[in-house]
């Protein structure tokens, strides 16, 4: 290790020696400019659409969401006509959400856990070393896609379900109180749920674990919370992420339990999601990839 190599004084390639050609960095890849957030967004957009799991999840989201709403309304229309139920038709018009929310959780978790499972995250971070930018790009793509998918699914479910309700004379008009809000709210809630699951995925870095925690928290624990006694128990149940966030996506609550108002509920859910995302981002920025 004594005498190192005979290095030339200048570190530039052009001065390294007579055998070394000057490297033109723009030879094959012209247009040298600093790619900004748009480039990261574009990359995440391509990534999202080039794996099967995204397309499968979205297909399932639509099938479950719109399909189940239609099916439930078909059944409800007969019961309503026969006077066999005391429910009001508005309860059923976004019912498929109960199941489509599962696919939103799956999609949100997979967006990050699939990268950890495959080692992709290292490629992602060598391409875009600014980790906050990576997460922002992922979040925009995920939330954007889920919002559109949620609204489209809700409208399809409304059209399908309302056709049956209308036939029996129980049709719900778009202009009725809360209907349009619930349809658009479907997109908002699913987008939020995707981000919530994405934050969970970032924290646990494992698909199965993220799915289990996400689904348990949103569905199981959310429903169990209604069994808690007293006023504080009711309060806890109201602010559980699924219960609070779901309100904006329903014309009238499905389960009859105490809920917050639609926008208050969504506000609480948005705050919970934001808090979880901030924690996940801080952890992600510090952690070795």
């Amino acid at each position: 290790m004594s005498a190192g190599p005979t290095t030339s004084a200048a570190p530039l390639p052009s001065a390294a020696g007579p055998d070394v050609v000057r490297l033109d960095p723009d030879r094959h890849v012209p247009g040298r400019r600093a790619p900004g957030f748009g480039a990261a967004l574009n990359a995440e957009w391509i990534k999202f659409w080039t794996v099967r799991s995204s397309r499968w999840s979205l297909g399932l989201l639509f099938a479950l969401g719109a399909g189940l709403t239609t099916l439930i309304c078909w059944g409800a229309a007969r019961d309503l006509a026969a006077g066999a139920t005391t429910e009001v038709p508005e309860t059923f018009i976004t019912f498929g959400l109960l199941f489509s929310q599962l696919t939103a959780v799956a999609l949100g978790a997979l967006v990050v856990t699939s990268e950890y499972g495959t080692g992709m995250v290292r490629a992602t971070l060598t391409a875009v070393p600014r980790r906050g930018r990576v997460l922002a790009a992922k979040a925009v793509v995920l939330a954007g896609v889920l919002f559109v998918a949620g609204v489209v699914t809700a409208f399809a479910g409304y059209l399908g379900g309302n056709w049956f309700l209308d036939r029996e004379g129980f049709g719900v008009a778009l202009s009725d109180d809360g209907v349009l809000r619930a349809l658009v709210g479907n997109g908002l809630y699913l987008a939020g749920l995707g981000l919530f699951a994405m934050a969970l995925g970032l924290l646990v870095r494992h698909t199965a674990a993220a799915l289990t925690v996400g689904i348990a928290l949103v569905l199981v624990v959310g429903n169990l919370a209604y069994a808690l006694p007293g006023a504080w128990g009711e309060w806890v149940a109201k602010v559980m992420p699924g219960n609070a966030g779901g309100t904006v996506a329903q014309v009238l609550p499905f389960n009859g339990g105490a809920v917050l108002g639609p926008w208050t509920g969504f506000g609480v859910f948005a705050a919970e999601t934001a808090a979880l995302l901030i924690v996940a981002t801080l952890v992600f920025r510090r952690r070795d990839a």
Binding site: R32, T50, A289
Partner: protein, 313 residues
């Protein structure tokens, strides 16, 4: 150019990389050599901003990797483990990478062609063999036509033809004036590729010198002497102050390993004493042996029976 200063990484009580300082110069291939578990991959991950050093710093072209506005245009890296989603096609994988750094799409076909994957570019990479995966990794590294190229164990899983291709590619890239850092745990591979060597063991620097210097310093040589009258020859050589090592001298194929004088000198000595020789050969120990000797104390997972090593040779 890559500069590491006091680079250190600890995981709890275990030190993976211990105060490494080195410079990787442009225009030549620098081999980054060490046994498995020596800290090569950890070092490379720190160079690429994936892992945060416990202390010390690494810069590429004068700034930290993360500070580069378009890192793929500055540093191309082949990471050891496959860093890709098995469900995505090779072309799509390159497509998002290109998009992330504002690299024109035309470059994707160029690199696919360069690594010979154009025919399978639209297949899902989960179906790729290890060698095809490595080729895709190299395509990724060259996507931004970067002046600095970092290849972690690039010949893993490649067939002999592929190995030669990587070797030539590394030399060609260096010949173009690029900074090329290639890691390997195989000395024989480095001997054919690298101009300069950085050898690490247990996270510590063992050598940082030119390949020729490494050979001169570490590849020991001796003269193999065989004679029907071994004992007398040995006594004679020892009387002349030479270093003699007996190897199975009781057997027919036994030999003396002599250091301190060249073959011609030994021949004259022995001949002068009227003794016969059956063999007189200069033996240059291989670089592999030199590397083994150098890293002997720093191998992470050593096999304990020396017979095992002999049986596999």
């Amino acid at each position: 150019m890559i500069v590491a200063r006091g680079l250190t990484k600890t995981y709890g009580p275990k030190t993976a990389v211990d105060d490494l300082s080195f410079t990787v110069e442009p225009g030549r291939v620098t081999g980054f050599l060490g046994p498995n578990g020596a800290g090569k991959s950890t070092t490379m991950r720190m160079l690429l901003g994936l892992d945060r050093p416990t202390s010390g710093s690494a810069t590429v072209n004068g700034r930290s990797y993360a500070a580069s506005p378009a890192p793929l245009r500055e540093v191309g890296a082949l990471l050891e483990a496959r860093a890709l989603h098995p469900g995505r096609s090779a072309r799509d994988h390159l497509r998002w990478l290109a998009a992330s750094n504002g690299i024109p799409r035309a470059r994707i076909d160029q690199v696919l062609d360069l690594v010979g994957l154009e025919a399978v570019a639209d297949q899902r990479v989960g179906r790729f063999s290890l060698g095809m995966g490595q080729r895709l990794g190299i395509a990724v590294a060259l996507l931004g036509d970067p002046p600095v190229v970092v290849l972690d164990e690039p010949v893993n899983g490649l067939d002999p033809e592929g190995i030669r291709w990587v070797r030539n590619l590394a030399r060609e890239l260096a010949g173009q004036g690029r900074t090329v850092l290639v890691s390997s745990h195989l000395m024989s591979e480095m001997a054919l590729t690298a101009d300069h060597l950085i050898v690490v063991g247990r996270g510590r620097m063992l050598a940082d010198c030119s390949m020729s210097r490494f050979i001169a310093d570490h590849a020991a040589s001796y003269v193999r002497v065989r004679s029907p009258r071994t004992a007398e020859v040995e006594t004679l050589l020892r009387q002349h102050g030479l270093d003699v090592d007996r190897q199975d001298v009781d057997r027919q194929d036994g030999e003396l390993r002599v250091q301190g004088l060249d073959a011609a000198g030994i021949g004259e000595l022995v001949g002068g004493a009227g003794l016969h020789l059956h063999e007189l050969t200069l033996v240059q120990s291989s670089l592999e042996d030199a590397f083994m000797t150098l890293t002997a104390d720093s191998v992470e997972y050593a096999a304990h029976q020396t017979e095992t090593a002999g049986a596999l040779r």
